[in-house]
């Protein structure tokens, strides 16, 4: 048996979950709808939108700080996991090598 056979079989193509194409098309439709609505409104409406945006930005500043902290925390946690994984892997590598040698 070719030792690569299990590797080849492990990479057999798999189908995505049912309805995948439909979900893609829904996203396409949503994106097209956003693009169509993106045309800039008349001048008076533009001012109203700008004022509304300024208020929204102010209100969201506090929420934004929380969101940033959330994102920073998640990123830091992910990095910590990566670091611990790498450290754990190398410690075990040393252990494994020592064991393999002592077995003979």
């Amino acid at each position: 048996m070719n030792e690569l056979d299990p590797i080849r079989r492990a990479f057999a193509r798999v189908e995505p979950p049912a309805g995948f194409a439909a979900r893609v098309l829904e996203r396409v439709d949503r994106e097209e709808a956003v693009v169509l609505q993106g045309r800039w409104p008349r001048r008076w409406l533009r001012h109203a939108v700008a004022a509304g945006l300024a208020l929204a930005i102010g209100l969201s500043a506090l929420a934004g700080w929380n969101w940033n902290r959330q994102k920073r925390g998640e990123a830091a946690a992910a990095e910590a996991l990566i670091a611990l994984r790498i450290a754990s892997e190398k410690v075990n590598l040393a252990k494994q090598t020592v064991h393999e040698r002592s077995a003979f």
């Binding site: 048996m1 030792e3 690569l4 056979d5 299990p6 590797i7 080849r8 079989r9 492990a10 990479f11 057999a12 193509r13 798999v14 189908e15 995505p16 979950p17 995948f20 194409a21 439909a22 979900r23 893609v24 098309l25 996203r27 396409v28 439709d29 994106e31 693009v35 998640e74 946690a77 992910a78 996991l81 990566i82 994984r85 892997e89 494994q96």
Partner: protein, 173 residues
């Protein structure tokens, strides 16, 4: 909308749906084998097709489309691995029972599990080689990396998988 090419103009909603169905297995499989996470794989696969829809102008032929899909999927997977938390999904959740081969051997399951330990680029190189059966020069062209880098990733990836299978004592005899 302006700037649609003949290809994009000719691809209506239904036709794009057909395109998706034709290539969804390839795109999803590259993502699934690389990320070992069904949910993340679907997210990447959807993003890839959405991007295809936006970039249809740039597609020159059906062959180019396949090359484009492989390249964009591979790059999105590499980005996803680097961004996401380092927690491969347990193999049983990643490959539901309905999609496993009838005689899904421990070796196959071990290979899939070990993929989660490999660096991002090694994973995509392995997926392009063993799933898509691309030759090394084609992998290099797809990923836009040097030939020797592909060989290195392939060699190290296969070595890591083989070593992992030996260590867990789950090679098939």
């Amino acid at each position: 909308m302006t700037g649609r090419s003949a290809i994009r103009g000719a691809v209506d909603h239904a036709a794009f749906g057909d395109l998706v169905r034709e290539h969804q297995s390839m795109v999803f499989s590259i993502a699934q084998h690389t990320l070992q996470d069904r949910e993340a794989a679907e997210e990447v696969a959807q993003d890839v097709f959405l991007r295809l829809y936006r970039d249809l102008d740039s597609i020159e032929s059906p062959q180019h489309m396949v090359h484009w899909l492989r390249r964009v999927t591979a790059n999105r997977c590499i980005d996803a691995i680097r961004r996401r938390r380092w927690r491969p999904v347990p193999i049983d959740e990643s490959f539901p029972a309905a999609e496993r081969e009838p005689e899904d051997s421990l070796a196959i399951r071990t290979v899939r599990r070990l993929m989660g330990q490999l660096p991002a680029r090694q994973r995509v190189v392995l997926a392009l080689r063993f799933q898509e059966e691309l030759e090394i020069p084609e992998i290099a062209r797809t990923l836009k990396i040097p030939l020797n880098t592909v060989k290195s990733h392939l060699r190290r990836g296969v070595e890591a998988l083989r070593r992992g299978m030996e260590r867990t004592g789950r090679t098939e005899s």
